[in-house]
Each structure stands twice: as structure tokens, then as C-alpha cells.
Symmetry: C2
Subunit: 410 residues, 2 copies
């Protein structure tokens, strides 16, 4: 580098992919708030307040509700490495890329991992999960709620009761779904759930909301290890201590809890951002936010169908906040996507593994679950499709979406 | 919570503790910049640019220079868990709390950990480290550069050559020291080094700059494991794969490198902030930043001595950016510290373990390595000391600091 670069100056983007998506303006403002010290009364009060906000976001009374400092994947690893002892059986139903990720992280934790799979684009019937639970007798069931790789939303309502009947811990990764699709940690019997900010919560990646049931906290509490530097007389290690310091949720709980034992230095700006994401959701109202995601998701779905695009997967089990469409025959998917970004400033996504280059994924999440964002995206996509050789009905996308809005009185 | 809280609104604070400290204003501005997509050309260019900035910060040509998304402790764990195979011998010279932390994290990685210790307030002579290297024959030497718990700065200049002679990998945690004290990754023969933003780099906690030598990258490359979800034919796992997905530096390098393999979703706002921290340091100039930390550290040292306070530890080996002073007999240390914060808005710190309640730690770092910050802190500390029962020379702190500035023509 010969000359030093100037201040960061991102180009204007409308992020309509599978996430990350554009942040709410007030979340960005919160991110630039002044820092305070780690044990400043304002800091600890903000942590406590943020915990309470996320209890409402998760639908839980769990005391153990907190943030892990890292991306959504950090939250997943913290939950799995804290709950899975080496050799523990873990069942992972896989219906997309992120199921594979849960299996992979559980394998790194030296769990004995069993997977069941359905073809991409489908979800599991409860009976298939119960059959596997009975057969595998896992310590933990790890299940993605919404897998952005396929856009599918796995129903979780009845899984907690199933797990309780069989004495299985129930964990779900709600990264892609939380805030845009119902999630009821207590009513659905979750023992652990994790997420990120960069999807429907409409914040930056880098903070992972986590909630843990009392049963999960007990398992974690049985795996205690105290840092030598702050160890006191009488403190003893569990033989099965967690093989990570950073992701030891017991230690993180001691930092977020009344003992306030020093662990990491909480990422203050991310805390401010995470707090604002939850606050905005609760000010709008959980039900209203879900309804908004449903409405704009339906408008986008109708719009892409109105453009003549074929929707991928079982639409009845689609997340509200993202739709996958098959790239039309003859269209260079990456070139069209690049044109959307370079010429129109709008980002849409491709997918992973078997779907890479075969589908585009279009999101309607958080701040961008908005009428103008949906209509602009459809109008521009029509233009790009036409210039890339597809035959598209003029105005078909925008008209279909406007019909949905008219029907909803929106 | 009956009513929802308002937008985050931190109280004004002058953070003069051992860190986190106040961020540079332009770092806070960078944090609120608009988000872009994960593979937006602007995003990948910003990642590449940030890598080059941190090469200059670290004093290295290491291709493998990147950020880990998490606090400084995440960077430490990523380095240690990626470099230490279960059973590997690890030598940790401990001269404060953060040496214990390195030992603890190495133990979680199932390394065979050997420690040597000096009393808090001292550092190791090279000969003591060499003696231990010869005796233990470690795979890795893990050594803190600056341990804020004691304020000591371990000289590293000759340790790399020692490690090279004995075929030992050399890792250093420079969290507290980087940016305020010289660090030359290449000239000093480092194989791995990690830091955080919240000390002399003057940004928020939550991003960990990491640099790795080619030798370290080779060790990590030998421990490869590919996620099932993005695995391709012919990809095979190493038997000794890294027991973490999130901290697998091989995977993180594949994301930061030209292959751009999807791993986590990079924390965009933290990236913006980290980039700005490095950019400000390089615009001011590395040498000028060091000189500034040295000057204001000397002024603060003279100031606290001018107030009649006894400095803790071996002053010849003190970091430039923090000083520890014994709490005067008869003064309630926590009450005085609380008064500094509540009445004057100035934060100073206490310490850990054997020094808790025995010393205060006062920092002069990053944005707050400034004349007005030093003088204000000394004037207010004098007032607080007097009101808490200490006998202090009137104006003794400010006068002594001003003498240092006058002597330096500052």
C-alpha cells in the first residue's frame, strides 16, 4: 500500500439477499455511541436491560439469556460445545447447509453425531424426528429452525414435548428465522437457542443472542472450570470441563449474572446494537413484526411468480423472510446478480452446495421488509432478467406484489 | 420490564483505566457506516485493505494477517487451539493474570502445559525463558507482551531467535500493548500474535487482529477439516483436526484469502471499526504513536508520583500506556474509584487476584494518551484523594506532569 486509504465509505446498497441485510438506521446510530468501562454501572445496567429485552424476543423467562460476542456461528458453537460432552450422542436432522454445520460443530465437540436427512426444499415431519430420537437415544437434538440455504422453516412447536418425553435436550439455531417467524422458547420447550443480528433483527453480524433453560444451565454447571488467575480456594474443576474458555457458557453466565466474574471484555458497540435491534422489535410489537414479515414475504413471493420465476422448495414451509427462485434457463445467474448489484445497487443471493448457481435467494427482512424495497427489487429484477435474455411479463412482478398489498389494505 | 427503554444514551466518560478506553471519534463514526453484503466487492476489498493495514501495524509481511470476530480473548483462543494439538507441550511464562489465562486456554486445548512464574511486578530475563525451553522442550511458547494486571512489558526482542534455535513456535498476546509499545512481528521472529482494539488501538472490544507466520500456517494447514455442507470430492480431514469450527484459523484464512470460502459472516461494523483504528495509527505514524504513548505515560507516571503515590512494580519494565499505584493507607480504594467515576466522570481501574484492592491502574491509551486527559485525571484524583482522607501535596500531580511536558517541549 503506497498511500493510506480514506475513511470507510460504503456504496449505497439495498440488501435483499438471504442476509446480512441493511441495518435499521437507529441500530447504526446506536453503534456509534460512546464507550463506557466494563464495570461502569451504565454498562452492567445495559447488559441487564438487554437480557430482559431478549427474553421477550425469545419468548422466555430464562434467567440465562445473554449475548455471545461473535457471529451467529459463535453462538452455535458456544451452545454445542457447552452442552455436548465428548462421546455424547447428538441427533441432527439436516434439511440444508446449516444442518450440516450443526453436525460439523457437534463433531468438533467430539459428540457422536447421527444425522437424518430430507431432500433440500423439504422439512421433517415430527414422526421422522421421533423415530430417530427413539432409535438414536441422543443426549441432544440439534435442529435448525430456518435454513436460509433452502428457505425452509422447520416446525418446532411439537419437538420440545417429544424431547421432554424422551429425556433429550433440545437446541435450535434460529439465526435466519428469529424476528421474522414465530419463536416461543418456553412454550415450545427449548433448552437452548441461538441466533444472530444480521437477518430479521436487522443489525450487523457480530453478536449472538443465546437463551438457555434451567436444565441446560445445570448440564453446563456440571462442567465447571475456573481460570487459574481468578480461582479462589475451594474452587474445583469438573473432570468433563468444557474444551473452550471463550465459549464456556458457564463462565459467560458468571459474567452476565450477579457475580459479574471477569471473562471477556464485553463488546460494547455490539451490545448497543443488539439492544437496539431487540428494542425496535418490541416497540413495533412481536406480532406486528411477524405480520410485516409475512406480508412483505407474500408480496415478494407473488412478485417473483408474477415474473414467471419458479419458486424452489415446499412453499407451505417457506420462511416468511426469504424466497428461492430457480434461475431461468439461458440466464447467467452470476452475471445477472452482478448487474443487480453494480447497476441498481440491489443485492440478491445465490445458494450453497447443490443449489449453487441453480437458485437465487431474495430476502425481505428486518428494515427491508418494506413495500418500497419489495417493489423496487421486483422492478429492477424484471429489467435485469430481460437484459439477460429471459422472457418476462412486463410489470408482472410489481403488479402481483401490488395486488397482495391491495388485498391486505397495505 | 413494564415500559420499553429509550435509545442507548451512555453518560460522558473519560476512560483512564486499563481498558477498554474511549474510542477515537472517527472510529465511532466508522462503526455506524452502512452495511454491505458478505461478498460485495466493497466488502472483500475492505477486508483485503484491512489486512494490509494490520500488516503495517504488526510490522510483518505475513500474508496470514486477519481479524477474528470476537474479543481479544477470541483471538487468543483461535491462535492456541489452532496451534496446539492435544498432548503438545506448551510453555507459558506467567508474570500476571493474562499469563494464567494463556495457560488456562492451552489446558482447554488439552496441551500439556508447563508454567514458570516471577512475582507480579516483574518480567522474565531471557535466560530464564531459555532455561525453561531447554528443560520443557515445548511445541509452543506462549508469552504475554504487556500484562495489564501488573502493567509489566515483557521484552520480546530476543525470544524469537531463542525459539528458532530450539525449534519452538513463538506466540505472543499483545492485546494490552499493541499500538502503544513497539511490536515487530517479523523482526522479533513471532509465529503468531493476537490483540484487541480496546486498548492502545482505541476502538471497541469485539474484533481481534491476528497475524501468523508461514510456519504457523503450515502447522494449521496440517489440521484441516472441511464442513460437510461445502465439502467437495477429494477433500479429506486431518486426524488431528482442530477441535473448534469457529476458531479454526485454517478455515478463517480460506475466508479471508483468495478462495473466499464461506465460514462465518464477517462482522461488518467491527471490520469498519478495526480498519479505522489501524488507519489512524498509520496516518499518525507508528513511531509518532509510540512516542505519544511514551510522553503521556511519563507525564502520568510523574504525576502520580507527584501526588505522593507509590508506583507498583519494576518501573523500568512498565508498559508506556498504564501505571499501577498502591492505594494509600486509610483510603477506601473502591469508594475513591467510585467517586472518580460518579462525580468526575473519570474511570480508573483496580486489579485482579493478589493486587485486587491493593492498587489502582491508570491508563493513557489511544485517544486518551492526551495532555488534557492526563492533567484532568491528575487534578481530579488529587481532589478525590484529599476527600478520602489522604494527605496530598496541592497541585503536586499536575505540576509534575506539566514539568514532563515542558521538558519535552509539549
Amino acid at each position: 500500500m503506497t498511500a493510506l486509504p480514506g475513511p470507510v465509505s460504503p456504496p449505497p446498497r439495498l440488501l435483499m439477499g438471504p442476509g446480512p441485510i441493511s441495518a435499521y438506521p437507529s441500530v447504526l446510530r446506536a453503534m456509534s455511541s460512546e464507550l463506557v468501562g466494563q464495570y461502569d454501572p451504565f454498562m452492567t445496567a445495559t447488559m441487564t436491560e438487554t437480557q430482559e429485552l431478549y427474553r421477550q424476543v425469545w419468548g422466555t423467562a430464562n434467567e440465562a439469556t445473554l449475548l455471545v460476542d461473535g457471529t451467529s456461528r459463535a453462538g452455535i458453537e458456544a451452545a454445542l460445545i457447552s452442552l455436548i460432552r465428548p462421546g455424547d450422542r447428538v441427533l441432527v436432522p439436516v434439511f440444508g447447509r446449516f444442518g450440516h454445520l450443526l453436525a460439523e460443530i457437534a463433531e468438533r465437540a467430539l459428540g457422536e453425531v447421527h444425522t437424518i436427512e430430507v431432500p433440500w426444499g423439504q422439512v421433517f415431519p415430527v414422526s421422522a424426528i421421533e423415530e430417530a430420537v427413539v432409535r438414536v437415544k441422543p443426549h441432544l437434538l440439534a435442529l435448525v429452525q430456518g435454513d436460509t440455504s433452502t428457505t425452509m422453516l422447520q416446525p418446532l412447536e411439537d419437538i420440545g414435548a417429544l424431547c421432554a418425553r424422551h429425556g433429550v435436550l433440545f437446541y435450535s439455531d434460529a439465526t435466519a428465522s428469529l424476528g421474522g417467524n414465530p419463536f416461543e422458547a418456553d412454550a415450545w420447550g427449548l433448552d437452548a437457542a441461538t441466533a444472530g443480528l444480521q437477518k430479521c433483527l436487522s443489525g450487523p453480524s457480530g453478536s449472538a443472542p443465546v437463551t438457555l433453560s434451567e436444565r441446560a444451565v445445570e448440564v453446563i454447571g456440571g462442567r465447571r472450570r475456573i481460570e487459574a488467575g481468578i480461582r479462589e480456594e475451594g474452587d474445583e474443576d469438573a473432570p468433563d470441563f468444557i474444551r473452550s474458555n471463550y465459549f464456556d457458557l458457564g463462565m459467560i453466565l458468571d459474567y452476565w449474572g450477579p457475580r459479574r466474574l471477569n471473562h471477556h471484555t464485553e463488546a460494547t458497540s455490539m451490545l448497543y446494537g443488539a439492544r437496539e435491534c431487540a428494542r425496535l422489535m418490541l416497540i413495533e410489537g412481536r406480532d406486528a413484526v411477524m405480520a410485516r414479515h409475512r406480508l412483505h414475504g407474500e408480496a415478494m413471493l407473488a412478485g417473483v411468480q408474477g415474473l414467471g420465476l419458479v419458486v424452489f422448495g415446499d412453499v407451505a414451509h417457506k420462511m416468511t423472510n426469504v424466497v428461492a427462485v430457480e434461475i431461468p434457463e439461458g440466464v447467467d445467474g452470476d452475471a445477472a446478480r452482478s448487474a443487480m448489484l453494480a447497476d441498481f445497487g440491489i443485492e440478491i443471493g445465490t445458494s450453497f452446495g447443490p443449489l449453487h448457481g441453480r437458485v437465487w435467494r431474495i430476502g425481505t427482512m428486518g428494515y427491508n421488509a418494506r413495500k418500497d424495497a419489495v417493489l423496487t427489487t421486483l422492478a429492477c429484477l424484471e429489467a435485469v432478467l430481460r437484459r439477460h435474455g429471459a422472457s418476462v411479463p412486463s410489470g408482472g412482478g410489481v403488479d402481483a406484489a401490488l395486488d397482495v398489498y391491495a388485498g391486505a389494505g397495505a
